[in-house]
C-alpha cells in the first residue's frame, strides 16, 4: 500500500471510552425522529384523541350493559382497550418509508452509521411517543374517575406493559416499511390492528364468546394481554395473568421484531 492511498483514507476515529458508537448512533437517530414528530402534531394528536374518545363513548353507552352482566367497574374493564388504541401506533414506519422514498435513508446508509441503530433509533423514538400517549390517556381517565385496583404501582406497570406492546406492534410497520419501501403498503398495516384488538375479549369475557370467535380469541395474544391489563385495573395483583400477558407480548415480539430485522437486512444488503 502506498502512502498516497493511505492519505486518501479517512483517519481512524479514536473511540472514546463510554457509550458505544452504535448506541450513540441510535440516540442521535432517535432524537431526530422525536423532533420530527413534535414538528408534525397532526401525526400524534389522533393517537391521543381516538383512545380518549373511544373510552368515554364506551363508558357512556355500555356501562349499564356491563353491570347487567356482572361487570361492576366497567371503566376499569374497558380502559385497557382504550390504552391499546393509544399504544398500537398505526403510523409506525411511516417516517422511515418517507426517508426511503426521499432518498434520505440512502444518505444515512452512505455514512458509517451502525445499520441496526437506524432501526433501534426509530423504534426508540416511537417508544417515547407511545409512552407519552399512554401516560396522557391514563391521566385523563384517572382524572375522569377511573378506579384502579392495583394503585399507583399498577398504573406504572400498566403503562409499561402497554408501551412494550406498542413497540412490538410498531415493529410490524417498520418491517413493512423496510421490506417494501412503499408508503401505501406501510399505511395498510393499520388493518392488522382490527382483528388483533377486536377478535379478543375486548367487549365480553371468553366464556361469553361463541364458535369461531372464541377460537380466534383463544389464539390471539392480545386476549392474554388484555387479561393481564385487566388484572391490574379490575381484579388486583394476579401474578399468573400478568405473567402470561408479558409472555404473550414476548411471543408476539419475537415474531414482529424478527420481521423488522429481516426487513432491515433486505434494505441494507
Amino acid at each position: 500500500m502506498t502512502s498516497t492511498t493511505t492519505e486518501l483514507r479517512a483517519p481512524s476515529v479514536p473511540q472514546a471510552a463510554g457509550v458505544p458508537e452504535p448506541l450513540r448512533n441510535a440516540f442521535h437517530i432517535g432524537v431526530r425522529e422525536v423532533r420530527n414528530v413534535l414538528r408534525a402534531p397532526a401525526e400524534f394528536l389522533p393517537g391521543l384523541f381516538i383512545p380518549v374518545f373511544f373510552y368515554f363513548i364506551q363508558v357512556g353507552s355500555l356501562s349499564s350493559f356491563g353491570h347487567r352482566y356482572g361487570i361492576l367497574n366497567f371503566k376499569a374493564f374497558i380502559f385497557p382497550i382504550g390504552l391499546l388504541f393509544a399504544a398500537s401506533n398505526g403510523g409506525a414506519g411511516l417516517n422511515m418509508v418517507i426517508d426511503i422514498e426521499s432518498g434520505y435513508f440512502d444518505k444515512l446508509l452512505v455514512t458509517p452509521v451502525n445499520r441496526l441503530a437506524l432501526l433501534i433509533g426509530a423504534m426508540g423514538a416511537d417508544a417515547v411517543r407511545i409512552f407519552a400517549q399512554c401516560t396522557i390517556v391514563t391521566v385523563v381517565a384517572l382524572a375522569a374517575g377511573l378506579d384502579f385496583k392495583t394503585g399507583a404501582v399498577g398504573v406504572v406497570v400498566l403503562i409499561a406493559m402497554a408501551t412494550i406492546w406498542g413497540i412490538v406492534y410498531s415493529a410490524i410497520g417498520f418491517a413493512i416499511a423496510l421490506k417494501t419501501g412503499s408508503p401505501a403498503a406501510t399505511q395498510s398495516a393499520w388493518v392488522i390492528f382490527f382483528p388483533l384488538i377486536f377478535l379478543t375479549t375486548a367487549f365480553a369475557p371468553l366464556e361469553a364468546l361463541s364458535g369461531w370467535l372464541q377460537t380466534a380469541a383463544r389464539m390471539n395474544p392480545v386476549t392474554y394481554l388484555l387479561q393481564g391489563m385487566r388484572a391490574l385495573t379490575l381484579t388486583g395483583w394476579n401474578g399468573h395473568d400478568i405473567g402470561i400477558a408479558f409472555l404473550a407480548i414476548a411471543g408476539m415480539g419475537a415474531l414482529t421484531l424478527t420481521l423488522a430485522l429481516r426487513g432491515l437486512l433486505s434494505r441494507v444488503r
Binding site: 498516497t4 483514507r9 476515529v13 431526530r32 420530527n36 426517508d99 426521499s102 432518498g103 458509517p112
Partner: protein, 326 residues
C-alpha cells in the same frame, strides 16, 4: 495511485416473472486518478447511478471488483464509508430538519463529538452560502439551496474522495453555475478527487479533466474531453432534410471525398468529414441532383455528443449543448 478503480464491474438486477435479468452495469473498467475531476457521462438509464451506488457501498456488485482509496467496496465497506463524501441524485434530505440540524446529525454519525458538530455545521453552511437559511426547515429551500446543503453534508468529515451523482440535475442555469464553481473550488483548493455523473455534455466538458462515456452499462469511450473530440478526426456536418427523403439523402452524399462516417437520425444526417466547410457546397449540389430539399446545413467542431453519437449510433437523449433538458 488511483483513487477509484473498477475492474470487470457488473451489476444485474433480477426481473419479475420470466423476463431476463437487467444488466445495469455490464463490465466496466475504469481508473480515476487522485486529485482529478472525473466525469461519467451518459443518458438516463445508462448505468451511471448504479455504478455510483456500487462505489458508495449502497449496492454490491454482481461480478468484478471496485476499490475506493485502495479499499474494496464489499469487504471493507465500513472504511470506504468513512473515506468518501456522497451527494446522491435528487438530494435526499430530511425536509423537516433545518440545514443546521441536518449537518450536525451527519457529523455525529461520522463520530464527531461534543461541540465540534455545531462548529462544523456553521462552517459548512457558511462555505455553501446558506448561513442566513441555516435555521430554516429544508422543506422551504429552493432546489439550488437543497443541492448546496446536500453538498455540505458530503463534506462534514473532510473526505478526500467525493461522489456527486448528477449534482445539477433540475437546477436553473444560475444555480448550475454556482454548483460548478463549488465543485471546482473543492477540487482545486481542498484537493478532493471528484467522481461526477452527468447527462449534461457541457457539464462534463467544463468540469472534468477526464471523461468516461457510458451507454447501456458499457463504457464506450474514455479520455480527456479534448482527446475524445480529437478522436473523431473530422468536422461534423449536419444536414436536415424531410424525414421521408433521408435514405435518398444518405445515398446522395455517400461518395463524398473525405467522408469518414455517416449517422442518420429521424430528421438529419450527421457526416463526420474532413474539411467540412469546404464541402458544404458539394453537399447542397448533391442533394439538389438527388431532388432532396435541404432544410439546413451546419458545420461544427466535434462535441462530446458527437463522440457519443459516433460510438453508439444515437445522441444522448434529453441533453443539449447548453445543458438544458429538452
Amino acid at each position: 495511485m488511483d483513487a477509484i478503480e473498477a475492474s470487470g464491474l457488473v451489476k444485474t438486477f433480477s426481473s419479475r416473472g420470466d423476463a431476463p435479468p437487467i444488466e445495469a452495469v455490464a463490465g466496466i473498467d475504469l481508473a480515476v486518478r487522485e486529485g482529478e475531476i472525473f466525469g461519467f457521462l451518459g443518458p438516463n438509464g445508462a448505468g451511471k447511478s448504479t455504478t455510483v451506488r456500487v462505489f458508495t457501498t449502497l449496492t454490491k456488485p454482481t461480478a468484478g471488483s471496485a476499490r475506493v482509496a485502495g479499499l474494496d467496496v464489499v469487504r471493507e465497506a465500513q472504511q470506504v464509508r468513512r473515506t468518501i463524501g456522497v451527494a446522491l441524485q435528487e438530494a435526499g434530505l430530511d425536509a423537516r430538519a433545518t440545514g443546521r440540524e441536518l449537518l450536525e446529525l451527519q457529523a455525529r454519525l461520522y463520530g464527531v463529538r461534543g461541540e465540534e458538530p455545531k462548529r462544523r455545521a456553521g462552517e459548512l453552511l457558511d462555505l455553501v452560502g446558506l448561513s442566513d437559511a441555516a435555521d430554516r426547515r429544508i422543506q422551504t429551500y429552493s432546489g439550488g439551496m437543497k443541492r448546496r446543503v446536500d453538498l455540505a453534508t458530503a463534506l462534514v468529515h473532510r473526505p478526500k474522495i467525493m461522489f456527486l451523482d448528477e449534482p445539477t440535475s433540475g437546477l436553473d442555469p444560475a444555480s448550475r453555475r454556482t454548483m460548478w464553481h463549488e465543485v471546482r473550488r473543492l477540487n482545486k483548493e481542498d484537493g478532493i478527487t471528484v467522481f461526477l455523473t452527468t447527462q449534461y455534455l457541457e457539464e462534463a466538458d467544463e468540469l472534468a479533466r477526464r471523461v468516461a462515456i457510458i451507454d447501456q452499462g458499457k463504457i464506450v469511450a474514455q479520455g480527456t474531453p479534448a482527446q475524445l473530440k480529437g478522436s473523431i478526426g473530422a468536422d461534423v456536418l449536419t444536414v436536415t432534410v424531410p424525414a421521408p427523403r433521408l435514405k435518398k439523402a444518405e445515398q446522395a452524399v455517400a461518395a463524398l471525398k473525405g467522408l469518414k462516417e455517416i449517422r442518420a437520425d429521424s430528421r438529419s444526417l450527421t457526416l463526420f468529414i474532413a474539411n467540412g466547410s469546404a464541402v458544404v457546397a458539394d453537399v447542397v449540389r448533391l442533394m439538389d441532383e438527388a431532388r432532396v430539399k435541404v432544410e439546413s446545413v451546419t458545420v461544427a467542431s466535434p462535441t462530446l455528443d458527437d463522440v457519443f453519437l459516433r460510438a453508439t449510433g444515437h445522441r444522448i437523449e434529453g441533453s443539449t449543448q447548453n445543458g438544458e433538458v429538452a
